[in-house]
């Protein structure tokens, strides 16, 4: 079975996402920003076939073990067939060469053409030339069990360090017990040569149990070592992802439904890239105590001081007592959160900080981190709360349908809206680690602008969904279009390609 026959899992985001209306691009009126902004409503990037460029499009396949095995074998065959020079490379040595180069075929071939002996030495198949010359007298005993052995019963790798078959066998058993397979070395002290799969096979031919485990571990090593392959991180899942271009993009397992980033296998995280999200998550874990006090579910109304509990995802709050509209994040007037002036997501750095004392700088660094952390965490919480909204909507639709107020199809748009909200807020959450590590300059300005626009529209969408039954369907659908378009625009401009 070739890779083209394999199960094609995804070719980017849903086709429904594409019918975006042009009207949503009208309010880029900020002159300062327009200078940096290259995409108008009519020049969204299009590819040769005239389709709108989808920043989340990602080609990948889902393999089972057999398919992955075959995929690996095909790569090895490709290598051994292409290398027609001497020395001939066997299938088993081809595997070692590829494994040592993350299975990047072109790199192995290039290095082979340059200096095949050096390549074999570097991949620990041949001993360094300086050592190969030492001819040692044939040993009368095996250096491991220290028992006398006949010359014919001793086995060695290319280094000529000979050991008896029994010792090799026990050695492999211990190594396999520890989960080592592709890295099993020669038993001689300071000899780094590694055993090939064929060698292991010949040693373990009479121990089927150990052999089977050896092969499992070796296979696992190859999957982990291959730049285009990943094990699905789902619990006890044996699906293998294959991406021709191994990028930090979203993949989803059809078997266990796990959804993650292909490259780092963490939760999908665009626009942040893999190293960014790794540093961010490490920082959050290290500083979790500092940030703990933020986790509040209640705040006081900034106007009448009554205690308000947040039980929805929307950050546009309205006080139930005095009707004041305010922002949950910054407690500012919501009027200042219109999409044109939305400033709540932008951190204003002290421009003179370089001249301040070390202590002031440390305080500023902490303030900056907490600013981004607070927003990151708040959107995470909103996502959870909006899941409840989703359940509630589902429940309400059921009721309506039961009371003959339309069919499921009539109300489907509400669920679509809630799904879209989730997708948009998820991306928004990950814009905060991105912004935290982004260096200042015009790119950052543009990013913050787009982030603010996205956030404003998301809160509008959330507000409308929470009041779905009072909201006009056309109005809601228009809001959906605007919000998704903001999201795609940001990703198009800022996720790595």
């Amino acid at each position: 079975m070739s890779e083209a026959d394999a199960d094609m899992a995804s070719q980017g985001s849903d086709p429904d996402d594409e019918g975006l209306s042009d009207s949503s691009y009208q309010d880029y009126s900020d002159e300062d920003i327009n200078d940096y902004y290259n995409y108008g409503p009519d020049d969204m990037e299009q590819d040769d076939r005239g389709q709108i460029f989808d920043p989340e499009a990602f080609e990948y396949f889902l393999f089972n073990k057999e398919e992955a095995c075959q995929f690996l074998d095909e790569r090895v065959a490709e290598l051994t067939q292409t290398i027609q020079f001497s020395p001939q490379v066997s299938h088993t040595i081809g595997k070692v060469l590829l494994q040592a180069h993350q299975w990047v075929l072109t790199e192995v071939m290039e290095r082979f053409r340059e200096d095949s002996v050096q390549l074999m030495v570097d991949c620990r198949i041949l001993p360094p030339p300086s050592r190969a010359k030492q001819v040692e007298p044939p040993p009368k005993q095996c250096p491991v069990c220290l028992q006398a052995q006949e010359e014919k019963d001793l086995l060695s790798l290319a280094c000529n360090h000979k050991f008896c078959t029994d010792c090799w066998q026990r050695y492999f058993q211990v190594q396999v017990e520890d989960g080592v397979a592709t890295g099993v070395e020669c038993m001689w002290s300071d000899c780094r040569l590694i055993t090939t799969e064929d060698f292991a096979l010949s040693i373990l031919k009479n121990s089927p149990v150990t052999l089977r485990r050896y092969q499992q571990f070796a296979f696992n090593d190859y999957i982990k070592g291959h730049y285009q392959l990943r094990w699905c991180p789902g619990p006890d899942c044996d699906v293998i992802y294959m991406a021709p271009q191994p990028l930090g993009r979203k993949v989803q397992c059809k078997k266990c439904k796990t959804c993650c980033c292909f490259r780092c296998l963490k939760d999908y995280h665009v626009p942040a890239d893999c190293p960014t999200i790794e540093s961010w998550l490490r920082k959050c874990a290290d500083d979790s105590e500092t940030a703990n006090y933020i986790s509040a579910h209640t705040k006081d109304c900034p106007k009448c001081n009554i205690c308000i509990e947040k039980n929805g995802g929307c950050n546009h709050m309205q006080c139930f007592q005095c009707r004041y509209d305010f922002c949950w994040m910054c407690l500012g007037d919501w009027k200042t959160h219109g999409s044109e002036y939305y400033e709540c997501s932008r951190y204003k750095e002290n421009p003179n900080i370089a001249n301040e004392s070390a202590q002031a700088q440390a305080r500023e660094a902490l303030k900056k981190y907490l600013f981004y952390f607070e927003r990151w965490e708040n959107h995470q919480k909103s996502l959870k709360l909006e899941e409840q909204t989703f359940q509630r909507i589902q429940h309400r639709i059921k009721e309506k349908v039961m009371n003959n107020m339309g069919t499921w199809i009539d109300w489907q748009y509400l669920l679509d809206a809630a799904n879209l909200l989730h997708k948009c807020r998820y991306t928004l959450e990950y814009t905060y680690p991105y912004a935290y590590y982004q260096e200042g300059g015009p790119r950052k300005k543009l990013f913050e602008y787009q982030q603010a626009q996205l956030e404003a529209e998301i809160e509008n969408l959330s507000w409308k969904i929470e009041r779905a039954e009072q909201t006009d369907r056309g109005d809601l659908e228009n809001q959906m279009d605007i919000t998704e378009k903001r999201r795609l625009t940001l990703l198009r401009d800022f996720s790595e390609s």
Binding site: P143, V144, C145, L146, Q147, H161, F163, D166, C167, R170, Y171, V174, Q175, E177, E185, C186, M187, W188, S189, D190, C191
Partner: protein, 201 residues
């Protein structure tokens, strides 16, 4: 599995006993039990080091998977060395971990430990306090290591070493445990005040 470990140890045992180094009293191995799973090693402090003239005892435990896995070795004699814990005697040495090879023997291990006493690797420390002193105040480290060897490894004493003895004795007379006093002084550059503070807290 156990059979090969025992057979190997028996052969190795003879190898060490008959070796040149054993003849020169540099290394020794003794049996503790009849199962060959526990042994006692001994190495002489190498010349021109603070350990010269000392005898260092080692606890050697042979795992069932020996020689495919390394023996478990630690110092029983207390020692002041960057790669050996001054508290537990645990050793940081590559061949006792991932650089072990089945063709290595107890003799290799003992000679490697002796080499470690001659050349510490402070960048891969087991005891951070010792390693810091080794890097920042080599002279004081040497004197401290020498003192520990005299105190615990029967290394010969000389007149000029009296200063440290006096300090330890002073603290011992105040009622502190002698070894604790020595450890506190060693960790605080032999400053009486700070060592006392450390002992009280």
């Amino acid at each position: 599995m156990a059979n090969i470990a025992v057979a190997r140890i028996k052969r190795e045992f003879r190898e060490v006993v008959k070796s040149e180094e054993a003849a020169k009293c540099n290394i020794r191995v003794e049996l503790i039990d009849d199962n060959f799973t526990e042994l006692r090693g001994e190495i002489a402090g190498p010349p021109e080091t603070p350990y010269e003239g000392g005898k260092f005892l080692l606890e050697i435990k042979i795992p069932e998977t020996y020689p495919f896995n390394p023996p478990k070795v630690k110092f029983m004699t207390k020692i002041w060395h960057p790669n050996i814990s001054s508290v537990t005697g645990a050793i940081c040495l590559d061949i006792l971990k991932d650089q072990w090879a089945a063709a290595m023997t107890l003799r290799t291990v003992l000679l490697s430990l002796q080499a470690l006493l001659s050349a510490a690797e402070p960048d891969d420390p087991q005891d951070a306090v010792v390693a810091k002193q080794y890097k920042e105040n080599r002279h004081l480290w040497e004197k401290t290591a020498r003192h520990w060897a005299q105190e615990y490894a029967e290394a010969p004493k000389s007149k000029k070493d009296d200063e440290f003895y006096d300090k330890v004795s002073q603290l011992a007379e105040m009622g502190f445990d002698r070894h604790k006093a020595l450890t506190a002084l060693s960790a605080h550059e032999w400053n009486m005040e700070r060592a006392t503070q450390d002992l009280i807290s």
